[in-house]
Amino acid sequence: MQQEWVGEAKIDRIDDVTEFVNAALEAVDCPMKAQMQIDIAIDEVLANVAQYAYAPGTGSVRVLVDPKPGAVTITFIDRGTPYNPLEHTDPDTTLSAEDRQIGGLGILLVKRTMDAVRYEFRDGQNILSIRKEF
């Protein structure tokens, strides 16, 4: 059954969302490794929303979690500045430490560890959903 979390898009609320999602994952016996990958993805997505969506102000974010046996879909919805994190080119991960730029690594991690990542802007809302199979 789909569950919803609504709160302010702030970095210090990310732990709340993680706990909320983990509770849903435990109910469908999600393995620990997949759960940690999902927790990382939550951190990456919500950090972006918290830092950029409503800057310099703040606003709310809705998180929908739809746990099923063998797969979970998590959807993040905000009403901030339209922003598609998937349209940026991936950072060069072959550079040395000295030349390395850190931007874009978060969304790259999400794309590589989740089974599907989708973005759409609809009715004034950024809607980003991630799906993980386990």
Binding site: D12, I14, D39, D43, A47, T93, A97, R100, I102
Partner: protein, 98 residues
């Protein structure tokens, strides 16, 4: 996240416990700010670290750059989830992981 810091001469061992993420990465950054003075060997012990996100990678990269100039740095006891984060992001290319 908990940071357990042990200094032996010019070696500094930082054992992290919990999650190194957007919320906690600034704590590590603050810890490293002055702690690296005079350090020639920096060791991150990840035995009790559950996972790391890109905010944590940013701090590790900064530490690597500093230690590149003044000595060496290694990361130990990396779990499977964290190793995959290092692999996906290419951090395995320049980190010393034991």
């Amino acid at each position: 996240m908990k940071i357990n810091s042990t200094k032996n001469g010019t070696e500094l061992v930082l054992a992290l416990e919990g999650r190194l993420d957007t919320m906690t990465a600034p704590e590590l950054e603050a810890e490293l700010k002055d702690a690296l003075n005079g350090v020639e060997t920096l060791v991150f012990d990840f035995e009790k670290l559950d996972y790391i996100s890109s905010a944590g990678l940013r701090v590790l990269l900064a530490a690597q750059k500093t230690m590149h100039r003044q000595g060496s740095m290694k990361v130990t006891h990396v779990n499977e989830t964290i190793m995959e984060v290092f692999e996906v992001t290419g951090f395995t290319d320049f980190l010393t992981i034991e």
